[in-house]
């Protein structure tokens, strides 16, 4: 009876199967959209051509190994910040969620305020705090931590809420069964509720990593050499704005596409239904 449901698309969830007339309309709409997109891309390329952005001098440096070595250094920086921030955010998010659901009123209230604060404040503001305010109190952080900590804090608020949604999705009967065996609430959370809750939200947790990766691009504020920062150095060196940003954008898209694929794969493995 292993019914590993295929991920439900939002279209399947909301609409019935289209009939012949609807299918015709969809086909016409698709054709018109495709033409518009192609024309749009054409216009962009034309504009680049007119302004000389397609000239070889803006692109040839991409053939040099040193360019890629430098970008790879930045890429490593991006990945290490993203992973460190992701792990810290997950731990902190779990702590905030446990506090908020603990039933101890003052702890729950504090965790709620902290969660909402980190969820509501832009990452950039937190980065400025670690970059400009924290050093004034004599705390010396490396640029790695000046970008990693604020990104982690910003994500922790969201992860706390994602985890809480997972905990709420565990049926009440699971807890009642454990209670009736004589288990204590703390053990029930650890042994029964959390393992199931995490399975429910693993796809969302991984997707959240996409946001963390995008936040790492703010590393330029603290001059940490991530992919974006190194790209900016190359842009100044070669005076190649469009070609460089285009290349970096492709890299970010590929990374985040891979993360999304991973979350879909994990969801399928675990038999979790996700709607996207």
């Amino acid at each position: 009876m292993s019914n590993h449901a295929k991920p439900l698309s939002i279209r399947d969830a909301l609409y019935e199967q289209p009939g012949p007339r609807t299918r015709r309309r969809v086909a016409i709409g698709t054709a018109i959209t495709a033409v518009l997109v192609i024309v749009g891309i054409g216009l962009i390329i034309r504009q680049f051509y007119i302004t000389g952005q397609l000239a070889p001098r803006y692109w040839t440096f991409l053939a040099q190994p040193t360019t890629w070595r430098f970008l790879l250094q930045g890429f490593r920086g991006t990945i290490s910040v993203a992973l460190a921030a992701g792990v810290i955010a997950l731990v902190l998010g779990a702590v905030l969620m446990l506090g908020r659901t603990s039933g101890i009123k003052p702890v729950a209230a504090v965790c709620r305020v902290v969660t909402d604060f980190f969820r509501g404040v832009p990452s950039l503001l937190l980065i400025y705090f670690f970059f400009l305010v924290v050093p004034q109190y004599g705390i010396r952080l490396s640029s790695f931590w000046m970008i990693t900590l604020p990104v982690a804090l910003a994500a922790s608020g969201v992860l706390a809420e994602v985890l809480r949604a997972g905990v709420n999705a565990v049926p009440r009967g699971q807890v009642e069964a454990a209670l009736s065996l004589g288990m204590r609430p703390g053990r029930i959370m650890m042994k029964i509720v959390l393992p199931q809750a995490i399975r429910f939200v693993i796809p969302s947790l991984i997707s959240q990593l996409v946001v963390v990766v995008k936040d790492t691009t703010l590393a330029y504020v603290v001059s940490y050499p991530d992919l974006m920062q190194n790209a900016r150095v190359l842009i100044t060196n070669y005076d190649a704005l469009v070609s460089m940003y285009f290349t970096v954008a492709v890299v970010y898209i590929l990374v985040n596409f891979a993360i999304n694929k991973l979350s879909a794969l994990v969801a399928e493995r675990l038999g979790v239904k996700i709607i996207r």
């Binding site: 009967g173 699971q174 069964a177 454990a178 009736s180 065996l181 004589g182 288990m183 042994k191 029964i192």
Partner: protein, 250 residues
Amino acid sequence: MEHVDETPVIELRHVDKHYGDLHVLRDINLKIARGEVLVVIGPSGSGKSTMCRTINRLETIDSGEVLIEGKPLPSEGRELAAMRAELGMVFQQFNLFAHKTILENVTMGPIEVLHMKREEAEARAMELLARVGVAEQANKLPAQLSGGQQQRVAIARSLAMNPKAMMFDEPTSALDPEMINEVLDVMVELARGGMTMVVVTHEMNFARRVSDRVVFMADGQIVEQGAPDEFFDHPKTKRAQDFLNSIKGH
């Protein structure tokens, strides 16, 4: 020679409970003796499940007392957990731990609460699973079993704690008809073995064949109680007569 134990295993004294304006339990008084099989019947919304769940405080009460072997049921903490560990509970929706195998479901209580060694807990679990007829499913997950099998595992999970008494909250109501008997058979065997049981059910045949006493509830009250033959053949109250008439032919 053993002295006859007069203290009821479970006793409810003047138990009252409200859900907002709804008076779900009205002055419930009930004693369940050791080895007794008590069946609770009544229309839906009569409070029979709620009553059953107050016995291990899955439902709190507004006033009155719940006594287990003469001692008041603790209201929280370690003491409450210890008391719950001595009372088995079987739910309508089985409530097997969805992420644990069948074997792990049955060893969870003994290992976590009784601090039994894993090998010992597993040996005992396998014994119990064999007794309820699902030993060969031990390494599967609950979702891979039929409803009837899952409910039998749930019974084994409760038995693994060596409970003083067991509550069954509509144990067959969520089952497909062809699976009801396999669960009832296990319960009959338990009753014959001398287990103290409180069974909330709609299975009138089970009530008549197995129970020592039938309690009929309506509108949060115990309306009538008595030996099964007497109750089913000569119900005294109008409410019970109407109820029995309404389910005739089932």
